[in-house]
């Protein structure tokens, strides 16, 4: 077999590298953070009910959104992206019911905390009586299952399953942003902080 002289070999490799470099394609994936923030905010308001001061806070963004969580009947044709599925609405309603019946008082008393990953945790279980602690554990497990399903479904329903982590992150920030005074949340160092 004929051997290539070294300088020639280098030249061919250089040419190939050059071709590869000029053939590189940059793919920019746009994550619609502002829209997701707004949609997450609306979702959370429907679960925990918005406080007057939170509702009055100017968002500085148009209310129409590519993520349209509105419950209006048939006018979806204009929406680009949304999570208008009965399953997600059912989860949202279930979370709102669970929040009102069980979770709210434990957020207020500091037993529950909002985590950085968009889930919730019993941070101080010793404060809760035993039978309530058992049912609270169940409620937290159920709520976290619902939360995980919502984050996943929003990503998938909008055709970008790979956005799940960012959607989760955006939701986590919104949950913390909308947390009421006195609630606990996990800061960037993993420490519980009272709002």
């Amino acid at each position: 077999m004929r051997k290539w002289p070294l300088n020639r070999k280098t030249g061919i490799v250089g040419l190939l590298v050059g071709m590869l470099l000029t053939a590189c394609v940059t793919i920019n994936v746009y994550f619609p953070e502002a829209e997701v923030e707004e949609a997450a905010g609306q979702f959370i308001d429907r679960v925990i009910g918005s406080e007057p001061e939170a509702a009055a806070a100017p968002q500085g963004k148009p209310m129409s959104s590519r993520f349209d969580f509105s419950l209006i009947g048939t006018a979806h044709a204009a929406a680009d992206l949304s999570i208008e599925s009965p399953a997600i609405k059912a989860i949202q309603q279930r979370m709102a019911d669970r929040f009102a019946a069980t979770l709210a008082e434990h957020f207020d008393s500091g037993v529950l905390g909002l985590k950085r990953d968009g889930l919730i945790e019993i941070r101080d279980p010793g404060k809760v009586g035993l039978s309530a602690r058992a049912s609270l554990k169940q409620a937290v497990a159920d709520d976290n299952r619902d939360r995980a399903a919502v984050y996943r479904e929003i990503a998938v329903a909008n055709g970008h399953p790979e956005w799940e982590a960012e959607i989760r992150q955006t939701f986590a920030e919104q949950w913390i942003g909308k947390a009421r005074k006195g609630w606990y949340y996990e800061d960037g160092k993993g420490q519980w902080v009272q709002k």
Binding site: L130, A141, A157, G159
Partner: protein, 660 residues
């Protein structure tokens, strides 16, 4: 050999001696007294005519794990009628700080010491013989006093409250304390709040051996109250359950639990030993386990099953087993099942009468199970039996498994469960042979249609609550063929389960299909595909469907008036159907029908065979009368479309030509 209580006895004895001695005033100082591992330092006894003072700088009863500093007894001497003496006064201890009243008395045949503090009392009495037994009567002793001592055995004990009553007898000759005790309103909690008790009432027997390696046995009958143990929450009934605890101190001075036993007459019993492993984790040997699940499952497993997403799961039958749990996982495990039945009220899973073993063992993990009937998402599965091998690393089917399913058979040539980085992963190969679609449609409450389903999914992987698959399923339905591939699911047994698939079909008999769907009557063949189908909570949320009649249909292609209505409804109202000439005919010849829908965000983007004036052609007619159906709504709300189809199916749509 000095007994463990030599020093308290000596101090008590000296009080008696001083009390009953001649009425003189004197002072005695002792630097240090030692007996075994008990030490008293800085002892001063001051005797006045009618008073006695006893001071001990440090009293350290290591065996009883009791250390008191700055102890001071101050009492007045008196006479105990009819023939005795006593000394009444106060008791103060600096560290831990507490005060109490003290009463020492002597009668002709008994010496006694009583201490009362903060509502609690301790009464020690002994016959006036050199080695007489000591009776110990404890009343309302706060359990919080025992917390530091118990923490040496269980460091995670964060809180302990409650009261202790006891009637005990201490035999110095055998260094043994025995008797009855009762614990009231016990509350305890571990640092992580995973193990806790509240409102506990425990009555039973105590046997404490104060040998060089002390041992404590407690037998409680009919405990009441609430217990939390990880995911298990119990409200103990008044039924006569029995709790046995045996604690023993080892050479290194730490406490071990050689036996804990529980016997609930309502259907659950176990005995186990608990030790600390090398990494200070728990090493649990479950030596015996028996459960009558019908009576006990809800009570013992109810909260754990709810937390796992299976609230109200009904279990019946018997389970007997044993196992070893080290370092946070079971290293071996054996459970014999008899007549076990599982029923999920949400109808996700149901299995009848399982017999056999669940044995996980590095060496002898061979298992065989038989069941008599099962249902998975309401799909009935026949009787079956499986043989597999279960080691800590993996679970592996030893022989192919065959189960009768929907009039055909399901064969599972291989099944492996492995531990992955993100939880357990099941890899299963499934072969389906001639399943009867009519049976499936009946089970799932679909419109009735016949056909068969066969296929192979050689690489089905279950993990993180969902599954994915390769391979495909072939269906012979409606006289044609259908191929389902890319079958996958997320949260299969969880909230808002999803199911995804790609479907292709060829030469489906439209006559059969339209009859099943009650959509009028169409003669012809249907070809098409539904790509990227995604069901959420069993309802479609996304797909890209394209349906078209097959030009090669050998017969006469005709469509009934009612089917035309249906197509018109789908397209947002017919543009051709309103023509009064159409009312004269029951059916129409057609050349071609085609419809596509891309469903996303609850909106169906419609298209047809081709573009027509202001819309898209759904049906192109042939011959006379020549009919054309043109759709004008390009975006149709999915729920609206479904309600239109339901209306057509129920015969509620306005009927073309039905002009009175």
């Amino acid at each position: 050999m000095p007994t463990a209580s030599s020093i308290p006895r000596l101090l008590f004895g000296s009080l008696i001696l001083v009390m009953t001695g001649p009425a003189l005033a004197w002072k005695l100082e002792i630097g240090k007294l030692r007996s075994g591992d008990h030490v008293a330092e800085g002892i001063t006894v001051v005797k006045d005519i009618d008073r006695v003072q006893l001071q001990v700088q440090t009293l350290d009863l290591a065996g009883l794990d009791l250390r008191q500093t700055g102890l001071r007894v101050d009492c007045s001497l008196g006479r105990q009628e009819p023939a005795g003496r006593n000394c009444r006064g106060s008791l103060r201890v600096q560290e831990p700080a507490w005060t109490g009243t003290l009463r020492v008395h002597q009668t002709t045949d008994e010496n006694s010491l009583g201490i009362e503090t903060a509502g609690a009392s301790i009464l020690l009495s002994a016959a006036r013989t050199p080695a007489g037994d000591i009776n110990i009567k404890l009343r309302s002793l706060p359990l919080a006093w025992l917390r530091p001592r118990l923490q040496t055995a269980w460091a995670e004990l964060a809180a302990l409250a409650g009261k202790l009553d006891a009637q005990l007898r201490y035999a110095p000759a055998t260094a043994r304390v025995q008797g009855e005790l009762a614990l009231h309103e016990v509350e305890f909690d571990s640092t992580d709040a995973e193990i806790a008790g509240a409102g506990l009432q425990l009555k039973g027997k105590l046997d404490l051996r104060l040998a060089s390696l002390p041992e404590l046995r407690l037998d409680f009958q009919a405990p009441r109250g609430q217990l939390l143990f990880g995911p298990i929450y119990l409200e103990l009934p008044e039924a006569a359950s029995a709790l046995g605890i045996w604690l023993r101190q080892d050479q290194a001075g730490s406490w071990q639990l050689p036996l804990i036993s529980w016997n609930d007459p309502l259907g659950l019993a176990f005995s186990a030993s608990v030790q600390r492993d090398a990494a200070d984790g728990l090493d649990i040997s479950l030596s015996e386990f028996h459960a009558e699940l019908e009576q006990s499952a809800e009570r013992y497993l109810g909260s754990a099953l709810s937390s796992a997403g299976f609230p109200g799961l009904l279990l019946a039958g018997k389970a007997d087993g044993r196992g070893r749990f080290i370092g946070g996982q079971w290293t071996s495990f054996e459970l014999e099942l008899a007549d076990l039945s599982i029923r999920d009220p949400q109808q996700r899973i149901e299995v009848e009468r399982i017999d056999g073993s669940l044995r996980m063992d590095p060496v002898s993990g061979d298992n065989a199970l038989r069941w008599r009937g099962a249902r998975l998402f309401q799909i009935p599965l026949g009787d079956g039996g499986a043989q597999w091998r279960w080691t800590p690393e993996q679970l592996l089917l030893s022989q192919p498994l065959q189960i009768a399913l929907l009039g055909g058979a399901m064969r599972i040539p291989s099944l492996v469960r492995r531990r992955g980085d993100d939880g357990a992963e099941w890899q299963v190969a499934i072969e389906l042979d001639q399943l009867d679609m009519l049976n499936l449609a009946t089970a799932l409450d679909w419109p009735k249609f016949s056909g068969s389903l066969s296929g192979s999914l050689p690489g089905l992987v279950f993990k993180q609550g969902g599954f994915s698959s390769d391979g495909d399923l072939a269906l012979s339905v409606f006289g044609g063929t259908m191929r389902v591939s890319g079958l996958g699911s997320e949260r299969t047994f969880g909230v808002a389960p999803t199911l995804g698939a790609n479907i292709q079909f060829d030469n489906l008999e439209l006559k059969q299909l339209s009859a099943v769907l009650d959509f009028g009557e169409i003669d012809g063949w249907l070809d098409g595909r539904v790509e990227s189908l995604r069901l959420l909570d069993w309802a479609p949320v996304a797909f890209n469907a394209q349906l078209r009649t097959d030009a090669a249909f050998p017969g006469k292609k005709r469509i009934s008036q009612r089917a035309v209505e249906g197509l018109s409804a789908v397209g947002g109202g017919g543009s051709a159907a309103g023509n009064p000439i159409m009312r004269m005919f029951d059916s129409f010849p057609y050349a071609e029908i085609g419809l596509s829908c891309r469903l996303a965000e609850d909106v169906c983007a419609m298209a047809g065979l081709d573009e027509a004036a202001g819309g898209y052609t759904i049906l192109r007619g042939a011959g006379i009368p020549r009919l054309t159906v043109v759709g004008h709504q390009r975006k149709v709300d999915w729920p609206v479309l479904l309600s239109r189809l339901r209306a057509v199916s129920a015969g509620q749509a306005p009927v073309i030509g039905d002009d009175p």
